[in-house]
């Protein structure tokens, strides 16, 4: 599996740390209530097919990426800088 970092280009999967589903971009407000926080921390879509997830280019430039990847075929379908996505959001 190779992942394309928008900054460094295509790199071996070993350079990256996998964080999981890209839910961290939708963190609930501190006072959102126990239910939202439970859902955010624990419950997952867990799709068989394309999914958006967070990878950290730990042994590279240090950027956090949102990678779209197919969990059935392991095909990489694109990656963006998490910081760019968050700026576009705010």
């Amino acid at each position: 599996m190779r992942i394309t970092c928008p900054i460094c280009g295509e790199r071996d999967r070993r350079e990256f740390h996998y964080q999981g589903a890209a839910v961290a971009l939708d963190r609930p407000a501190p006072d959102a209530g126990a239910e939202s926080w439970d859902d955010y921390l624990h419950n997952r879509e867990n799709p068989a097919g394309p999914t958006r997830e967070l990878w950290h280019h730990e042994a590279g430039c240090g950027a956090w990426l949102v990678v779209t990847r197919d969990t059935v075929t392991h095909e990489m379908q694109g990656s963006e800088l998490a910081s760019a996505l968050q700026e576009a959001d705010s």
């Binding site: 599996m1 999967r13 070993r14 996998y18 964080q19 999981g20 589903a21 126990a34 239910e35 439970d38 859902d39 921390l41 624990h42 419950n43 997952r44 879509e45 867990n46 799709p47 068989a48 999914t51 997830e53 990847r69 969990t71 059935v72 075929t73 392991h74």
Partner: protein, 417 residues
């Protein structure tokens, strides 16, 4: 059809013409009292104990593929009761006791072999942790013995004891741990359930769960609708998808775990052995193949195959610990879909939908759990009350934070187990 020494002899002398299929291949009926989704080890054991312990036989097990085609036929077959935390401790202890009577119970040779399991340690800190684990096992009524270096040497003379980076300090020995023939466990439970009247329906994929006014009424399948007031979801790595059919999101992420087997060799590894400084554990099958594995690949996956980094890690760790296996040729590698929970422990509980029951989250350790899980889940489905040894496997423990069972002590968070 019963197995016995006499029967084997008779069949052997008469051309083996008397053996019959071990279970029927029935058409699904329009309705059952209960439906079990998933014909893996846990689903089949649940059906068996529903019939055996609770006299409930109007039951269907719906399997989308074939019996034994899931993780129950893909695992590395290690059976043990060396857990540490309340909840896991009593459950796996109960399950191991069921294992010990399983062959007589099922009249089926599941090749349960209590060859002993040794978890090695390589530092003073690890020794302390294993001593503590061993005490927990003994307190639970199971067996554990802390071996020093010489003690390990007597069992495993072939290790690289003086490895420059990871010398062997000792090991935690669990004599009742061992292995079993994974397919036979599925087949034995399947035959036992079928004999008691349970319909095992293969090539029958559940595609929807019918819910009316908050209660389950049945399921949609690739072979038509089937009604039932109680439905158990026992689909291991596919738990997230089946739960979604009932509008639920589970605390589960599906990951891939790989395993490897070499060509058949003369007997050389008598125990189950695990390395304490890298992800590697090994045993030798009765056919002679060295069966070994390591840790998850650590990314979500439904591919049933893994990637090179974990393969390389496992090979390196194996060579570090026991260089003698270096010349054995690896024949095959494969992967299975693991239903990982945030704390690495399972869930046996009612779902927040009336009539729906969940059995999932077995992570990479659910083979040894097959008898205990089937027994406890059958109890829950039949009586609507949790079975004591599995009472702590609650779905709401993540929300409440109470009684989390994080054996590794790494935190209750996805991707840490």
């Amino acid at each position: 059809m019963r197995f016995s020494g006499l029967r084997v002899l008779k069949e052997g002398l008469t051309g083996n013409k008397g053996w019959r299929p071990h279970w029927r291949d029935p058409e699904p009926k329009p309705a059952y009292d209960m439906i079990i989704i998933g014909g893996g080890g846990h689903g089949l054991a649940t059906a068996y104990y529903l019939a055996r312990e609770h006299g409930l036989t109007n039951i269907a097990v719906l399997e989308k593929g074939y019996i034994g085609g899931g993780n129950v036929g893909r695992n590395t077959t290690i059976v043990r009761a060396n857990y540490f935390l309340p909840g896991n401790s009593e459950f796996y202890s109960h399950s191991l006791k069921l294992w010990e009577g399983l062959e007589q119970e099922l009249n089926y040779n599941v090749m349960h072999s209590q060859r002993g399991l040794i978890n090695l340690f390589h530092s003073d800190g690890q020794r302390d942790a294993f001593a503590r684990r061993g005490n927990a096992m003994i307190n639970q009524g199971d067996d554990a013995e802390l071996l020093d270096r010489d003690g390990v040497r007597r069992h495993l003379p072939y290790l690289d004891f003086d490895n420059a980076r990871f010398p062997v300090y000792g090991g935690l020995y669990h004599p009742r741990g061992g292995t079993a023939r994974h397919d036979a466990v599925a087949w034995g439970y399947a035959r036992g359930a079928d004999e008691r009247g349970v319909d095992l329906i293969q090539n029958c994929e559940v595609t929807g769960i019918n819910i009316e006014a908050g209660s389950v009424t049945g399921v949609q399948t690739s072979r038509g609708a089937i009604n039932a007031r109680k439905v158990g979801v026992v689909v291991a790595g596919r738990s997230g998808q089946v739960a979604e059919m009932a509008g639920l999101r589970l605390p589960i992420e599906s990951h891939v775990l790989q395993a490897f087997v070499t060509e058949g060799l003369k007997p050389c590894i008598d125990h189950v052995v695990s390395f304490g400084m890298g992800h590697f554990y090994i045993s030798q099958s009765d056919k002679g193949g060295l069966v070994f594995g390591g840790d998850l690949d650590f990314y979500a996956s439904y591919a049933q195959r893994g990637n090179m980094p974990m393969l390389e890690h496992v090979m390196e760790a194996g060579m570090t610990l026991m260089p003698m296996i270096g010349k054995a040729r690896v024949l095959r590698s494969w992967g299975g879909i693991m239903d990982m929970t945030p704390d690495g422990s399972p869930i046996i509980d009612k779902a927040p939908v009336e009539g729906l029951y969940l059995n999932c989250g077995w992570c990479y350790g659910g083979f040894k759990a097959v008898p205990g899980s089937g027994y406890s889940f059958a109890h829950l489905m039949a009586t609507d009350r949790p079975h004591e040894p599995a009472a702590k496997f609650r779905l709401d423990r993540f929300r409440t934070g109470r009684a989390l069972m994080d054996e590794e002590g790494t935190g209750s968070q996805h991707n840490l187990h």
